[in-house]
């Protein structure tokens, strides 16, 4: 041991001990762990509801649970997965951990606010979870009026209150990221040297700040109508039920991009590192994120093609929906081109990235069906839509999240995960996912509406396939839960830059110290300058 090693500061995991040091921490890295614990718990709660639904749908009859229980299950699944897993998933965990590193900063701009965001998130989550368990809510995650505002007799107010509270957490996190990226970049870290992960999180943050207040207003209006009988949405009180859909989707369509953009950021990092190539067309990929963010605000009407909007507004929303698909396609093309003549490794994170490209493309291409007006009339509100958004949200976001967790696990824990087991689970997730959701496209075009507890017998075979796939998918998700926890304790020690990769986070020890960088780094290279890695690689080579 050299003298330098003895005097180097302890890593952030060991810097302080005890439960209090975690619950009162303002270290962005530790807060990321608080979020990981929380969203993992929510993911398995939401997944449990999905498993019960898939069990029920094994048979056409409603034999496992009653109709109202089934309705509460899919509402719980949707609400938990959207607001307490997908929206916070990558930004609050990987984003929280990595953004300061990637820009060469010691923390986020507002560390205390970051901790406050977590507490607000947990308060919202507990209120919503309580609403689910103490009687449940049966409106679906979309809360359509006037069902939610007047007809449902379940805990709508409490579920909405929890979501509203967690929305403030989203806004504060977004604000924190925006200010951090603007003000805390290290010397030499120009906007066009930022890793694409940061670009996509920056755009996501803008959407969080701009769109989430609309959700808060919408849910507040539902509550006011429900409690005080003020007619915003119920026609019996002089309101307009479709107004709710406009407001809801004005938030919820951009929210789809809140869920997928961070995943795209992760995949850009993975494809670059594991192809050892600068991302092809860096500026195009960066601006594709911004274009998605902007256009994402202009397509909400495509959720309402059969709700009775005018033909002309339908036409405008249709063509804009095709426009928003273009930047996503550009990203896919660029990732593929990055692999061309690269040095492509098959490490687990790259398997997840390739899986993401395949499944996200599947979801994106079927989005083109839903944007086609005449086809949407037939497939909207059916399982085709369910399959489509699960390809994006689960095939896209969850694959990216798992890929990112594996990729940065050595940095976050200082330990390597077991590679063979991890590859196997990536494969199981990919197979299980497709078996679960591909049949839903078919049964959707056949005509099976979503949110059906009981269905005609001819749809059974495809539903059984889907349920079988869901159990495989469940195994694929449980495996990493166990081996990653195992690896954090017993895994092989990780070097500072095991892959190796170019980001500033890899210039710190694994795991890093509380202050990230002992000296503020000075950035001299573009984001994906693999030539700059040559000394590291050659040195490693010479030691062999």
């Amino acid at each position: 041991m050299s003298a330098a090693a003895v005097h180097s500061p302890p890593n952030y995991l060991r810097a302080e001990q005890g439960i209090k040091s975690w619950l009162l921490t303002t270290d962005h890295k530790r807060i990321a762990w608080l979020y990981i614990a929380a969203i993992t718990a929510f993911f398995f709660v939401g997944g449990f509801a999905a498993m019960l639904m898939r069990l029920e749908l094994l048979t056409p009859q409603g034999d496992l649970v009653a109709s109202d229980t089934y309705n509460k299950l899919f509402s719980m699944h949707g609400i938990i997965m959207v607001w307490f897993f997908l929206i916070p998933s990558i930004p609050t965990t990987l984003g929280n951990f990595l953004i300061p590193f990637m820009i060469g900063a010691k923390d986020l701009a507002f560390p205390k606010l970051n901790l406050a965001s977590w507490y607000i998130f947990m308060l919202g989550g507990i209120v919503t979870l309580w609403a689910m368990l103490a009687g449940g809510v049966d409106t679906g995650w979309t809360f359509y009026t006037p069902f939610s505002s007047l007809y449902s007799t379940t805990n709508v107010i409490w579920a909405a209150t929890g979501i509203l509270i967690s929305g403030f957490s989203s806004i504060l996190t977004g604000l924190n990221f925006i200010v951090t990226v603007h003000t805390m970049r290290a010397p030499g870290m120009t906007w066009f040297r930022l890793p694409l992960f940061v670009w996509s999180h920056y755009t996501t943050s803008l959407i969080l700040v701009l769109a989430t207040p609309v959700l808060a207003i919408t849910l507040a209006l539902v509550a006011v109508e429900r409690i005080f009988g003020v007619g915003f949405f119920d026609p019996k009180l002089g309101g307009d039920p479709v107004l709710f859909q406009h407001l809801f989707w004005f938030y919820s369509h951009p929210a789809v991009y809140i869920m997928i953009l961070p995943g795209m950021g992760v995949v850009s990092e993975l494809v670059a590192t594991f192809s050892r190539r600068a991302v092809f067309g860096y500026t195009f990929v960066a601006f594709a994120s911004v274009a998605i963010g902007v256009l994402g605000f202009l397509v909400w009407g495509h959720h309402m093609f059969v709700a009775g909007q005018s033909v002309y507004s339908a036409l405008v929303f249709s063509v804009l929906s095709y426009a928003v698909a273009v930047p996503s396609a550009i990203k896919v093309f660029n990732w593929t081109a990055t692999m061309f003549r690269g040095s492509v490794s098959w490490d687990t994170p790259m398997l997840y990235a390739i899986g993401f490209i395949g499944l996200f493309t599947g979801g994106g291409l079927t989005g083109l069906f839903l944007a086609a007006l005449g086809v949407d009339v037939h497939v909207t509100e059916t399982y085709f839509v369910v399959a489509h958004f699960h390809y994006i949200m689960v095939g896209g976001t969850v694959m990216a999240y798992l890929g990112g967790i594996h990729y940065w696990w050595p940095k976050m824990t200082g330990k390597m995960y077991p590679e063979g087991l991890a590859r196997l689970s990536a494969l199981i997730v990919f197979i299980g996912f497709n078996l679960t959701f591909f049949p839903q496209y078919l049964v959707g075009y056949w005509g099976m509406p979503r949110r059906y507890h009981v269905y005609p017998p001819e749809f059974q075979v495809l539903n059984v396939m889907s349920s079988a796939g869901a159990s495989i998918l469940g195994i694929g998700y449980l495996m990493p839960l166990f081996y990653l926890i195992w690896a954090a304790k017993y895994g092989r020690a990780a070097t500072a830059n095991p892959w190796p990769a170019t980001g500033l986070e890899w210039k710190t020890p694994s795991p890093p110290s509380t202050h990230n960088f002992e000296e503020t780094p000075i950035v001299l290279h573009d984001a994906y300058d693999f030539e700059a890695l040559r000394p590291i690689i050659e040195e490693e080579h010479s030691h062999r």
């Binding site: 109709s67 449902s152 039920p241 600068a278 033909v311 492509v344 098959w346 291409l365 078919l442």
Partner: protein
């Protein structure tokens, strides 16, 4: 080909005049997107194998990008997407414009059933009988929450929204029994809000019509309501009462006391019955009671059918009740 599909792979029957158009657009999307997906999959897998890392220490030549390629695939993608947009929009227009000679029927959604009223007075619950080869236009509303009228075999779907009328049309092309689903989640028994559409040969349909009507035509039911709820005391058909006459109002331009004019379609008539002070006809006072909450949606529809029948009976001014009956006969066919 579609027959083969229906028998051998999961695919809905193709039983309306627009179903083929929707499927053609769908097929175009399937072919283009599957080609794109296969192309991408081949590239990704080929690159992953062909450029698989041979040594831990290799650093491949760096390529930053190429603007020409970027603009090329951006433009090509958007161009391809525009063809999809145009195809989808073309089919959508077909779905929006009902033929002029369509039979008018009415549907009311309520938790958790579909109530259908035929112009001849036949009523059905969770069933809809229609003739093959004849366009049918449904005017629909909901008594409570939002529902959605969905017949997969016809490739038509329309949300049914409380407080307003929405319309949907189709021409059945093949006799048979087809699923009718509620597609918009509407509460506990949402998946029980299902039924069947029976598409029948015209002769068979006529037999069904004559066997079904017990209460007289829909417009005559409306006329009874017109008497029963006291509409007749003010809305004298000769225009002598304190309220405007119903005769000839349907599909006319009505001048309002605020100076504007409004086209008297079903939605206007519904609003004027339920919420009379919303739009007041020029020259009349807003003295009519509010019928919101007094009338069921199917009763409103019967009244509207009565008013529509009066439009058809315009020449027969002398005997209004006889005229209305005759009108409903012509309206029905």
């Amino acid at each position: 080909m579609v027959d083969w599909l229906t028998r051998n792979i999961p695919f809905p029957p193709q039983a309306s005049s627009v179903a083929g158009h929707v499927d053609a657009a769908y097929l175009y999307l399937v072919i283009t997107t599957v080609s794109l997906a296969v192309l991408l999959a081949v590239l990704v897998i080929t690159f992953a194998i062909r450029y698989h890392r041979r040594s831990r220490y290799e650093i491949p030549p760096q390529i930053q990008g190429n603007n020409l390629i970027e603009f090329g695939w951006t433009g090509a993608t958007f161009g391809l997407f525009l063809t999809m947009f145009l195809f989808g929009a073309k089919v959508y227009f077909d779905l929006q414009v009902p033929p002029a000679n369509a039979i008018e029927m009415y549907a009311t959604g309520k938790q958790w059933m579909w109530k259908v009223q035929h112009p001849g007075g036949q009523r059905e619950i969770n069933e809809l009988h229609v003739p093959v080869g004849q366009a049918v236009r449904l005017t629909m509303t909901s008594q409570d929450v939002i529902h959605s009228f969905f017949v997969p075999a016809f490739r038509v779907k329309q949300d049914v929204v409380p407080g307003r009328y929405s319309t949907l049309w189709f021409t059945a092309t093949k006799p048979g029994t087809y699923h009718l689903f509620c597609a918009e989640y509407c509460g506990a028994k949402h998946s029980g809000m299902v039924g069947y559409v029976y598409a029948m040969e015209p002769a068979e349909y006529d037999r069904w019509l004559t066997s079904g009507a017990a209460e007289g035509s829909l417009s005559s039911q409306g006329e009874k309501l017109y008497q029963q709820y006291g509409c007749s005391t003010c809305h004298d058909l000769e225009g002598k009462g304190p309220g405007p006459s119903f005769r000839g109002v349907y599909r006319s331009q009505v001048r309002l006391d605020n100076g504007s004019t409004v086209f008297a379609d079903e939605s206007y008539l519904r609003e004027s019955i339920l919420q009379s002070d919303a739009k007041v006809v020029l020259g009349f006072k807003s003295i009519m009671p509010i019928f919101r909450g007094q009338l069921q949606e199917d009763q409103v529809l019967a009244l509207i059918e009565y008013i529509k029948a009066l439009e058809n009976s315009r020449p027969n001014v002398e005997s209004p009740s006889a005229g209305s009956t005759a009108g409903s006969e012509t309206g029905a066919r």
